[in-house]
């Protein structure tokens, strides 16, 4: 066991820090989503020119070929420096790796560079109104026609669909095959008449997500990734990369929020003492601090395992579940510390400041997005503990 950074890892971190010192872009404009997104595109193109986009991608495809530890360091440093996220997150974390693993040489030449530069934004069309946790039961149909496929159906929870050029779409190409085998992974051009995007407003009032309606949208044969009927396996690669790629950023953000909550608890007094001096609040803050630290350590333990076995294992489910739970409990506690003041709308003259109310609402999604906690427990029970399946 050695939990220190090696000299080359330290060098990587120092190089990143000094690059960020002279290239930190500040924060995107508020109150105008379209302008903010344009700003993030600019920022990503700057990251790309500096050699910091596609960190995990092999060098031959324009990435940095960074090790897992370096990727973890990168995520932690971005949060530590309060650096805004690039525009094309889904392309970088999921789309690119899928094309690199399963794509043809032509596809690699065509798609990878515009992902890195944020010229072409990507979104992910997996979930449907009737196919959430049971993703393989999805109904969107693709029918063979004229050197391509015609797609009809509906997708939901599609982040960035309104900005995207390409959609990673899983559709049913064989209605008679067993449900996991009749699926195909397509790259669908979003800029066509058969595709209609409608924003979904979530409980925070924002629209991170969209619905996509496809009415005879056309996808040429050369846009299939991994071959007809292999969509499930390709999709799983995407999801595994998502989980592994996001864990370290999630951990660093959690740490920041814990520290903010501690400051909050020290700044608010009830009954003649600060919330941090109240033994019950103190005990809960300490417990959350401990669990956040354990989440960090468990992530690093997981990395050691991935480096040995090559792929992320089902243990990643434990981390995502734990993160969602700690995050939610933390925001509940922060609002509790604010007491009745936690109700005031953010920006109100009476509000205490900070974005706890927003975080409280946004973290309700943590135990749903990217695999519900309930499904993750099934995965842990069946694939880690080997318990029998109910189905």
């Amino acid at each position: 066991m050695d939990l220190t950074l090696s000299p080359s890892e330290e060098a990587f971190r120092d190089e990143l820090r000094s690059w960020l010192e002279s290239n930190h872009p500040g924060q995107p404009p508020k109150d105008d989503d379209a302008r903010a997104f344009q700003w993030r595109r600019q920022w990503q193109s700057q990251l790309h020119k500096g050699g910091w986009a596609g960190l995990s991608w092999p060098k031959e495809y324009g990435g940095r070929g960074a090790t897992l530890i370096e990727q973890a360091i990168f995520s932690e440093e971005m949060v530590r420096g309060n650096v805004p996220a690039p525009a094309n997150v889904l392309g970088l974390v999921m789309g690119g790796p899928v094309v690199i693993h399963h794509g043809t040489e032509e596809q690699k030449q065509r798609y990878l560079e515009p992902i890195l530069s944020a010229e072409e934004i990507w979104c992910q069309g997996f979930s449907e109104p009737d196919a959430g946790s049971d993703l393989a039961s999805l109904k969107t149909r693709a029918v063979k026609r004229d050197g391509g496929w015609v797609v009809t159906g509906q997708k939901v929870w599609t982040t960035l669909a309104h900005e995207a050029k390409w959609c990673m779409l899983v559709a049913r190409t064989d209605a008679d095959a067993p449900k996991h085998q009749g699926l195909t992974y397509f790259l669908m051009d979003m800029e066509q008449d058969g595709v209609d995007v409608k924003p979904l407003v979530q409980i925070t009032g924002e629209s991170e997500f969209n619905e996509i309606f496809m009415d005879e949208a056309y996808i040429p044969d050369e846009n299939i990734v991994g071959g007809v009927g292999n969509g499930w396996g390709v999709a799983i690669t995407t999801l595994m990369n998502e989980r592994a790629g996001l864990a370290f950023a999630a951990q660093a953000a959690l740490k920041t929020h814990i520290n903010d909550a501690i400051s909050l608890a020290k700044s608010i007094s009830h009954d003649g003492r600060t919330a941090a001096e109240d033994p019950l609040t103190r005990d809960r803050l300490a417990q959350l601090f401990i669990e956040a630290e354990i989440f960090r350590v468990t992530n690093y333990r997981g990395l050691t395992k991935i480096m040995k076995n090559g792929v992320p294992g089902p243990e990643g489910s434990l981390g995502k579940w734990q993160w969602a739970e700690v995050n939610q409990r933390l925001m509940e506690l922060a609002l509790e510390i604010e007491g009745p003041y936690g109700q005031f709308a953010e920006g109100s003259d009476y509000a205490l400041g900070g974005d706890w109310q927003y975080q409280f609402l946004r973290t309700r999604a943590n135990s749903i997005e990217g695999g519900t906690t309930d499904i993750l427990k099934n995965i842990v029970a069946e694939r880690v503990l080997g318990l029998p399946k109910l189905r």
Partner: protein, 365 residues
């Protein structure tokens, strides 16, 4: 950055697991629990031959001079096997002497302990007081060329089989007291966990020479940190075993024509047990690493580990009992032995709430 155990550490892990599995089964543990002192001369001799009491003792005192990660590796296996007898008590006495004992004391007491010729145990906690060093009330009175000790120490492990006690006094001082010294009375105090016996040690005008004294404020902290790590690791091993028992049972026990592990009420409970067991493991090994490599974070890491593992140990054994249903509530089933050891480990050297308060202080809350 690498979380793997070294080849040597993996060998220690495998050797401990295999040895304990070969020597200890339910009948053996129960038979020892029913004796007065849970002590087996033969088992102890073999354990000493393996060098466990001297695991962290310096080579100059005949020990193996291994680190805190090895300590965690060993104690995880000791917990997994529910090992009866005085490994913990001797390890903690050795740690105290190794950390702060004088050269002469190490030669006189520590070297024979590492060799298995003498046994020692800590006698720190005064009757009616808590786990903090500041809570120790015993105040030695100066007498000719030494001190006189009066008081009553509780939670003294394996005292009946100890040759000497490391007695705690105000100001985090320590005094070595021989069990046979005049004025020492050892009384068994039966506890929940019958596999590791505890005693009250009464000191009634016990005279000790000045050369029996060591320690002092700030000097015992390293030993305490390692005690937290050892207990957290033992709790991890207990939780691991209780989890495996639950999963095995959930696969084989059928109700409504299905293994009960197919029902989510049961399988999700098992998943929760895994989450807590892995969390305890992460925290224990991180603390073990910090104890040897990052002294500035070690106190925080060790209290995080003891807090989390204390809860995990008691909760996972409790959850395992629930998965077992009625059979888990019987004396005949082994589960209660693990539940009781977890309870004992969880309160020893500070319970989870006590350690969370330490975390709060060290983390600047």
């Amino acid at each position: 950055m690498n979380f793997d155990l070294t080849d040597e550490q993996q060998m220690l892990q495998a050797a401990a697991r295999d040895f304990l599995a070969a020597r200890l089964n339910s009948e053996k543990i129960r038979a020892l629990a029913e004796t007065d002192d849970a002590f087996s001369e033969d088992l102890w001799k073999e354990i000493c031959d393996l060098g466990w009491p001297g695991l962290m003792v310096g080579a100059d005192s005949g020990g193996q001079e291994l680190g805190t990660i090895e300590l965690a590796v060993l104690f995880e296996q000791l917990g997994y096997a529910l090992t009866p007898g005085p490994v913990l008590s001797n390890t903690l006495a050795a740690l105290a002497l190794q950390t702060a004992g004088t050269d002469a004391q190490r030669e006189r007491w520590l070297a024979p302990l590492a060799a298995g010729e003498l046994r020692g145990t800590l006698a720190l906690w005064d009757r009616g007081h808590g786990w903090s060093a500041a809570d120790v009330t015993l105040e030695p009175e100066s007498s000719n060329g030494g001190v006189t000790l009066n008081g009553e120490k509780l939670f003294v492990l394996d005292a009946a089989r100890a040759d000497f006690f490391v007695v705690g006094a105000k100001g985090d001082r320590r005094f070595i007291v021989e069990r046979d010294a005049p004025g020492v009375t050892v009384t068994p105090t039966p506890t929940l966990d019958a596999t590791r016996k505890q005693y009250a040690v009464k000191l009634d005008g016990v005279k000790v020479d000045d050369d029996a004294a060591f320690g002092g404020d700030g000097q015992m902290e390293d030993a305490r940190i390692r005690a937290y790590v050892a207990l957290a690791a033992e709790l991890t091993g207990i939780a691991q075993r209780a989890l495996e028992m639950a999963v095995d049972y959930a696969k084989e026990r059928k109700q409504f024509n299905r293994p009960i592990g197919a029902y989510q009420a049961v399988s999700h409970r098992c998943a929760q047990m895994l989450l807590e067991t892995e969390g305890a493991r992460s925290a224990s090994y991180y603390a073990a690493w910090a104890a040897d490599n990052e002294p500035e974070t070690a106190p925080l890491a060790a209290s995080m580990a003891k807090a989390y593992a204390s809860d995990a140990g008691t909760r996972v054994t409790g959850a395992s009992l629930q998965v077992h249903g009625g059979i888990g509530f019987t004396w005949e089933h082994d589960l209660h032995l693990f539940l009781k050891r977890a309870q004992s480990d969880a309160v020893m050297f500070g319970d989870s709430r006590w350690h969370r308060e330490r975390v709060a202080q060290l983390a600047g809350i």
